[in-house]
Symmetry: C2
Subunit: 440 residues, 2 copies
């Protein structure tokens, strides 16, 4: 990192024409969430302890790691009444904002519901797919400083819309601190039970079940390295969502958006934590200068100035590209979690955007609107995983069963094909089972 005077802006400035552009971009994007052997071993111990000792282990770990002094899981369990009470006790303006956001999120996710389908072939054979919800989902919500009520809405509402039978939430309460906004969000989102436990022990409880905590079918939600390591370990026994990396935004500007707006959009990503990534791309060099000036000017006014400075210095970038095509190539190379297309006709870009978690289109669509209340989910694929994964959605809380109903005629006409292929694989019982259904 270059030295920079206090108050000035420390952020990488790149151009696609730089000889070392590719190398510097690779370095900027590099991220590996490593769980070292020590974390792995600690998590293995915790998983084994909870599997074996159930509630007793949960009480023990919570007392030690969250500095509590409880005697039983009853003290770590919150029922629906407590959630409603949290909601009712909120200042009206917060209660209304939370309810409005929940309503919009619910409305958007209703559109994601897939339908079961089937079709009948000429010989009467029916093929199809039946969609069903999970019986039980577990939502992990971080505690302490990163306890975000918006994340409760974003994780639990899709499960509720999917028709999940029971939604269980876990949230640690370090030093016994409960966040009423988080509980209020759980009330709105349709959470059935809350357990105030966290860390790898909470993941273990959801995966194996204990006397008090019901075993779930899938665990979603962000967490620290212990939580991520535990989720990876129980993957297969239960479903999990993606292991999230640090949050990132890539803004592409055509030079016509107010630099102050863009500066604040970049800050809104950088303020998450020191590892967050904010990248601005434009083919207009003077516009990049203007945004840089605005950032330098506005930085001292930020409540989270130190985090933002650290994030921008370590992982931020202002990138000058040649033109629209190069901007698109960068988008598809980076596959950003959040993509702001701050350009004149963003819809004309869509057919060429192959990889992005969420696309914020036009000058007015601040990422922050999508983070809270536009409707789509804010749980998005990070670190380039938008190449192969999707926003959290209703589809994450449902699964499909194939339907095959052969008519007598259909079974008879399919039989010879199955028989030939099965014999080609030396699976003769398969062949004979199909041959039994062939009519003369």
């Amino acid at each position: 990192m270059s030295e920079s005077p206090a108050g000035a802006l420390d952020i990488a400035r790149l151009a696609t024409t730089d000889a070392d552009f590719e190398v510097r971009l690779d370095d900027l994007l590099a991220w590996e969430g490593v769980s070292d052997a020590e974390v792995q071993q600690r998590v293995d111990e915790i998983l084994a302890a909870v599997k074996q000792h159930g509630d007793a282990a949960l009480v023990d770990y919570s007392n030690r790691l969250d500095r509590l002094s409880v005697e039983s899981m009853a003290e770590l369990t919150l029922g629906p009444d407590r959630l409603r009470q949290a909601y009712d006790s909120l200042p009206p303006i917060q209660r209304q904002a939370l309810a409005d956001a929940a309503e919009r999120i619910r409305r958007y996710h209703e559109r994601q519901k897939p339908q079961s389908w089937q079709y009948t072939e000429e010989d009467g054979t029916v093929l199809g797919q039946q969609v069903t919800p999970l019986d039980r989902a577990g939502i992990y919500v971080p505690g302490g400083k990163a306890a975000y009520p918006s994340s409760v809405l974003m994780n639990a509402i899709p499960a509720h819309v999917a028709g999940v039978g029971e939604i269980v939430m876990v949230v640690p309460t370090p030093d016994g601190v409960l966040n009423d906004l988080v509980l209020a969000a759980a009330h709105l989102a349709g959470v059935d039970h809350v357990f105030t436990i966290g860390g790898a022990q909470a993941v273990a409880a959801l995966a194996y079940g204990t006397e008090t905590v019901p075993r779930v079918d899938k665990i979603v939600g962000p967490g620290n390295i212990y939580v991520a390591t535990a989720k990876r370990a129980v993957f297969g026994r239960v479903g999990i969502d993606m292991i999230a990396g640090p949050s990132e935004i890539m803004v592409v500007s055509d030079g016509e958006t107010d630099p102050d707006w863009l500066a604040m959009d970049l800050f809104s990503q950088a303020e998450h934590d020191e590892d967050a990534q904010a990248i601005l791309v434009s083919w207009d060099a003077s516009h990049l200068d203007a945004v840089a000036d605005s950032m330098a000017r506005q930085l001292p006014t930020l409540e989270r100035e130190e985090i933002v400075r650290a994030s921008l210095a370590a992982r931020g970038a202002l990138i000058q590209c040649r033109d629209r095509d190069e901007a698109l190539a960068l988008i598809n190379r980076i596959a950003p979690e959040h993509l702001e297309l701050s350009v004149a006709e963003p819809e004309s870009w869509l057919p060429e955007v192959r990889h992005a978690g969420a696309i914020f289109m036009g000058r007015h669509t601040a990422e922050a609107l999508g983070d809270y209340c536009a409707g789509p989910n804010h749980v998005l694929p990070t670190s380039g995983t938008a190449r192969f994964s999707s926003p959290l959605g209703v589809y994450d809380f449902q699964k499909r069963s194939s339907l095959i109903h052969c008519s007598a005629k259909g079974a008879s006409s399919l039989g010879p094909t199955a028989s030939v292929l099965a014999r080609g694989e030396s699976l003769t019982a398969h062949a004979r089972s199909a041959e039994y259904r062939i009519r003369d």
Copy 2:
């Protein structure tokens, strides 16, 4: 296991009324695919070697582990011409069967294609979801005795239907043995390149890329414990499908299906390997007896008799339940990979079947028909994971991007909600970024 005379049938016989039924069922279903520390370490070494040395490591491992003597990746690469040649050289009856199966599988999977969608709100704000295919998918195909051309069709066709840009297949050739049926299937399914490599080294090549093997976005397909362990390790860097356990079938019969047919259906599962599981459930005790008699009688005629006997003895079961309701409870408890509803009106059962990978309905729908050519995928969730996962499908080779395009008016009216919630989370740059878009 009880001792049984040669030729007789050794299979567990349970009734839901048994005092120890729950315990015995748990024991039967128990399965843990454990990769011990030694496997883990070996896989870590292989992943690191391929990451560092690329092609050279692939050549080295293939020579050592598959007993080859090649000098470069060129000798481990098969182009489209070689695949077509394999297809052309098949006996006509096999070529036709493979083509018929491919056509039916393609037709079914075309129905799975999701559509992008969007909707416009009153204030002009547009919300939606854009569906795009993966750029590149990797298909792992086991070599040697478990080289199944049908698996090539089932893994690659959904990727092709999804619109994946490039489909890369890897298949080991122990002792240099190539399976022409497998290559022919690759030709039919739209595979672009085949590399004759396998094991953890092939997974590493697909995940990291080498000089010759392109890095893919997702790896699917079954493999041994080294392959499964490697897939779990690279999960997050690339997408993976589920880690598959042994194959299983649960047949529910109302007593009216020919016992010989059912016996062969159970055998067709048991013949896969010693860990495969075949379970028959009925409320008709004499029917269970009749199927058992048929099994004892037909067993000596099976080509894979020894494997079937071992599988049935270790993991098979004939279960007598009280009635239809208990059969349904067992289905939802077991969440079978393959469910045969060999009953009079199977469609009337569907609304109550919550968990199953694929449902084979009616007396004529042998599982084998679905394994090869009915159309739906034969890659299905095993070991109870149908509780939270789905058959392999087109959706596994696509991903979604959220679309948010706020009108000026929409951004202005959403701004206050986002601002209140962001300030409630102490994320003030988020709040200010939204506030910039609020008009007076």
